[in-house]
Each structure stands twice: as C-alpha cells, then as structure tokens.
C-alpha cells in the first residue's frame, strides 16, 4: 500500500516538474521526485544508495539548479514546442509498445546473480575500474563547477575591449 502511494506521488511530482512554467518550481518538484525515489530505494533494501541519492539528488543538484536559474534568470518563451505534443506522445506510445512486445517476454528472472560478494567487495575489487572512472568524472565535475563560476574572467576582457574605442 505504501509502495502504491509512493508510486502515485512520485509520478505526480515528475509530471509537475515537467509541466511547471517557472524553472524554480520545476527544480523543487524535481527535488521531491528525487526524495521519493530515495524513499522507494530504502524500502527496496538499498539504504546506502538511498542516502546518497537523497543527499546528492535532492540536495546538491537542487542547490545547483537554483544557483544556475538565478544566474540565467527566468526567460519568457513563446509557447511553441520543439515538437508537437501529439507527435511526441505517439512516438512514446510506439516505443513503449515495441519495448513491451520484444523485450518483456525475454526477461528471465530465474537466473542467479552474476557476481556474488558483498557490496564492499564488488565496489572496491570487482568493479574498481568503475571507481576509477567515478574519480575521473568527479574531477570533470569540478572543472564544470569552475565553468559555472567563470563570470569574472569573462567580463574583464570584454569590458577592456569596450573601453578601447
């Protein structure tokens, strides 16, 4: 029963995040979606992932969104879409039907797990390439944050050029 309730609220939050006209409201609905997904993961027996998802997905990403929205400002858009809504919805329907038709019968849940071992063993030993790649990604993320904060350096040469003539 709790799962059904979480499912409904999660999907409502996700739809509102997509539909909201203001970006700030959209970011807050996204944080709600993230928190509910974290709760569902906790109930599925993955508390470590739930904690990381809650702190990173609902906390850090929301703060970054609010920061970026403040820096870019709200922009008024004309209501035309990238693609007409009926076309997008029908494409989505076709994709879903193909998925259900071709992939769902093939799923075999009776096979045992591929990798035995505890979480710690898998994370640090069997999949240490993943861990290394995560370090690389975090490094590139730091570079991304520096790009986000690059305001001063870009303004100075521009104002210098404006003064010359």
């Amino acid at each position: 029963m709790v799962h059904v309730l979480i499912a409904i609220v999660t999907l409502v939050c996700a739809i509102q995040a997509v539909r909201a006209a203001r970006l700030l409201v959209s970011a807050i609905w996204l944080a709600g979606t993230s928190a509910l997904v974290a709760l569902e993961m906790y109930l599925l027996g993955a508390p470590e992932i739930a904690v990381i998802e809650l702190s990173v997905g609902a906390g850090l990403v929301t703060i970054l969104f609010v920061f970026a929205i403040n820096m870019t400002g709200e922009e008024n858009f004309d209501p035309r879409r990238m693609m007409p809504r009926p076309l997008a919805a029908s494409l989505l329907m076709v994709a879903g039907i193909l998925l259900l038709y071709f992939i769902l019968p093939e799923i075999d849940l009776s096979t045992p797990g591929l990798m035995p071992g505890t979480f710690r063993e898998i994370f640090w030993q069997d999949r240490n390439l993943d861990t290394f790649l995560q370090l690389l990604m975090i490094f590139s993320g730091v570079l991304g944050v520096m790009g986000l904060l690059e305001e001063e350096k870009m303004k100075k040469p521009l104002s210098g050029k404006e003064r010359r003539p």
Binding site: V4, I6, A7, T10, L11, A17, V18, L23, L30, T33, S34, E40, M41, L44, G45, A46, E48, I49, V56, G57, V61, L64, F65, F67, A68, I69, T72, G73, E75, F77, R80, R81, M82, M83, R85, A88, L92, L109, P112, G113, L114, M115, P116, G117, T118, F119, I122, F123, D130, L133, Q134, M137, G141, G144, V145, G147, L148, E150, E151, M154
Partner: protein, 103 residues
C-alpha cells in the same frame, strides 16, 4: 486484489522513463532539458536497484546505481555550466534559437 512490489516499482520506472523522454522531445528550454534528463536517469537507477533485488545480486545492482548517481550528477553540473555560459555569450536558452546559431 494484491499488487506485488516489483510491479509497482516497474510502474514507477516506466512512468519516469516515459515522462523523461516525453519532456526531452517537447521542451525547448536548456535547463528544462537537464530536468528531463534527471527524471530519466532516476528511472534507470530505480530499475538497476530493482533488477539487483530480483536476480539476487543486490550488491552488484547497488554498486552500479552509485556509478549512475555520480555520472548523472556530473552531467547535470556540466549541463548547467554550459547553460550559464550559453546564456551569457549568446543571450538565450531557447533551443530553437540556438539551433539557428544566430547571435
């Protein structure tokens, strides 16, 4: 009528994936695209945890889910840095105006 937990979670996963793809197809705002990507990846993450639980290798699923969380966060950070710089240099975040590459 009883509904099993995997059915409910699969419903969440398919719903999140559908909403994410639909938003990616229709939205024109660069920051909204990042919101759509986040929703999409949350669905994938939940699917990984559920798959790990259902096949009995929970730890493998959780290990992959951590990798996905980190990759997703980095994608969001770099996307937002890109959006801020695009807004500063070109002056708009509208994808249609961006595709025409006019200043």
């Amino acid at each position: 009528m009883t509904i099993s937990i995997p059915t409910v979670v699969i419903t969440i996963v398919l719903g999140l994936l559908g909403i994410g793809i639909y938003a990616l197809l229709t939205t024109r705002h660069l920051i909204k695209v990042i919101v759509a990507l986040q929703i999409l990846v949350k669905g994938a993450m939940l699917a990984l945890v559920l798959a790990g639980r259902m096949t009995g290798s929970e730890d493998l699923g959780q290990s992959l889910a951590i990798t996905v969380i980190i990759a997703d966060t980095i994608v969001a950070v770099i996307g937002m840095a890109l959006a801020v710089q695009v807004r500063r240099v070109i002056g708009t975040l509208d994808m249609r105006k961006l595709t025409s590459l006019r200043r």
